[in-house]
């Protein structure tokens, strides 16, 4: 059990950074992952009246055990990296509203935007940056929803400790899947990686996996169903090479098969591609002038922290130009 404190309440109590819900902001940023935070930093430095509205401070990065590919940072826990991001942004005293869910936005006749929050609050801004990131993709197979929270899990660092000494499966073949398997191998009795094609993970991550002797890998194998009684007891898989179906027993299934964009709020208003990602051009402009988007929620490829951060910076600079043009 980890007793080490992961404190993260730095500014949430400080009055100076308090979020004013009634004022008209130059720019409101939705999301406080790397894209949203870097956008806030750039917008703040430009002198914009900017606020950040988000559900979970830090976004997906806080769910990441370790980050080893952010330039200048050879190793950091996801949380430590987020703390550094936050501390940097806080130097500009940018107000942040946490635990807020944006349901929709609307462009008014005078060109300003209204953000509607779950719970009824309405916020106002001249421009918006949507940096809402993504959430775990589900397998979409029978039994998955039924056993969600009863064996089926989507956050390895959160739920891993509950599977101490048990048998778990990780579904997926990318970096997140293999990293989850590495973390789980330290706690669980056994880890089985099941993936329908070949590994896509980086070699350096696969090397870490190979150091464990409680890990089994089934590639070219597709999970068809989660089975169980009160709790899950295993999965039914199809071996694509032999065409055979069999059962793999396990107490847990960690689904790490990629992400889907959090673009619900833009579904009716912005142009999305067929994966639901918000279409942006190289200036991070969306199909509505004044609405910009950055990070995992957009069509920009390669969902990575450094890329999301860079895109956030770009979106803020474009938004700043946009707001300046309104003044003229």
């Amino acid at each position: 059990m980890e007793l080490k404190f992961s404190a993260d309440f730095g500014s949430s109590f400080k009055k100076e950074g308090a979020f004013d819900k009634s004022m008209l902001y130059d720019l409101l940023i939705i999301g406080s992952g790397p894209a949203g935070l870097n956008a806030a930093l750039y917008a703040g430095r430009k002198g914009m009246k900017v606020g950040v509205v988000s559900g979970k401070p830090g976004g997906q990065v806080v769910d990441t055990a370790s980050v080893e590919n952010y330039l200048g940072v050879s190793f950091a826990t996801g949380e430590a990296l987020v703390e550094q991001f936050m501390n940097h942004v806080k130097t500009l005293k940018i107000p942040m509203l946490n635990d807020a869910d944006v349901e929709a936005f609307e462009k008014k006749d005078d060109g300003t935007f209204e953000l509607k929050l779950l719970g009824g609050d309405v916020l106002k801004a001249k421009a918006l940056i949507i940096a809402t990131g993504s959430k775990p993709r589900k397998l979409g197979i029978p039994g998955e929803d039924q056993y969600a929270g009863r064996g089926v899990a989507y956050c390895a660092i959160c739920d891993g400790p509950l599977f101490e000494g048990r048998d778990v499966i990780v579904s997926g073949g990318g970096n997140s899947a293999v990293e989850a398997a590495v973390d789980l191998a330290k706690i669980a009795k056994s880890v089985t990686i099941i993936h329908r094609s070949q590994f896509r993970a980086d070699q350096i991550v696969l090397d870490q996996l190979n150091a464990f002797n409680n890990v089994t890998v089934f590639l070219q194998t597709e999970i068809k169903e989660v089975i169980g009684e009160q709790l899950m007891t295993g999965v039914v898989v199809l071996d694509k090479e032999t065409g055979e179906t069999r059962t793999v027993k396990a107490d847990g299934l960690f689904v790490e098969i990629g992400h889907i964009p959090n673009s619900q709020m833009a579904k009716e208003t912005l142009k999305l591609d067929n994966h639901g990602e918000i279409e942006v051009n190289h200036l991070n402009e969306t199909s509505i002038p004044g609405v910009f988007a950055a990070g995992d929620v957009t069509t920009v490829p390669y969902k990575q922290i450094i890329i999301a951060a860079g895109e956030g910076a770009k979106a803020a600079l474009t938004a700043n130009d946009y707001v300046n043009r309104l003044k003229r």
Partner: protein, 215 residues
């Protein structure tokens, strides 16, 4: 050895300067086998030392069984936060709120001191309409980054309604009760031991589940 390092102590002092009224931490332990009781008490002692507004009472679940009953304490270690009138307001932590849970424990102190932010009007209306007691259990692990958010919401609801009692339960410390409620993903929220959901969901979802207990 101090659990809270110097940097964290400094941060906490600053946060505690926002406290409005006094708060008493009542920590229940047990003689003999009690996983993390010792650490929990040391942790609370260190917290108490950081603010004049924070007071600590060390209790024993057996010797002080009356008090335990009053606050519905059934496990150890268990931490109950009492307001300035030493009244139980429904805010409880079962198991040490270390790791990520420091992020629900510290805000809990601030909230119980009366310095928290008000809930939106329509949530308050829903809470005021309650007529039957509600118990909210929030199962967590200490390595779960979004668990404290769910604990904070449950505690906020408890603070705003006399009928709501909300408790964090550290799933690894209390394996038996976690197994009873089939906890295999956290945060897992169980309302009146019957209605459940997983994840740090919006307050609206908490209120929807709570509403089911009122029929």
């Amino acid at each position: 050895m101090a659990l809270l390092n110097e940097q964290l102590q400094g941060q906490l002092k600053e946060v505690f300067s926002e406290m409005k009224n006094d708060v008493t931490i009542a920590v229940f332990t047990q003689k003999g086998a009690c996983y993390s009781c010792e650490e929990t008490v040391s942790f609370m002692e260190e917290v108490e030392a950081l603010s004049d507004k924070i007071h600590l009472e060390k209790l024993d679940i057996e010797a002080d069984s009356e008090r335990a009953k009053e606050y519905n304490v059934t496990m150890t270690p268990s931490i109950v936060l009492l307001d300035a009138d030493k009244k139980y307001v429904g805010v409880k932590f079962n198991g040490i709120p270390a790791g990520h849970e420091i992020n629900s424990f510290i805000p809990g102190l601030i909230e119980v001191s009366g310095a928290g932010e008000a809930l939106p009007e329509n949530y308050l209306e829903q809470l005021n309409a309650l007529t039957k007691p509600v118990n909210i259990k929030v199962f967590v692990t200490l390595s779960c980054p979004h668990c404290p958010g769910a604990v904070q919401k449950a505690h906020k609801l408890a603070l705003e309604s006399d009928l709501v009692d909300a408790e964090m339960i550290e799933a690894q410390t209390f394996g038996e009760i976690s197994d009873k409620f089939n906890v295999s993903s956290v945060p897992k929220i169980v309302v009146n031991d019957k209605y459940e959901f997983v994840g740090n969901q919006p307050l609206q979802v908490f209120l929807q589940e709570i509403a089911k207990t009122q029929n």
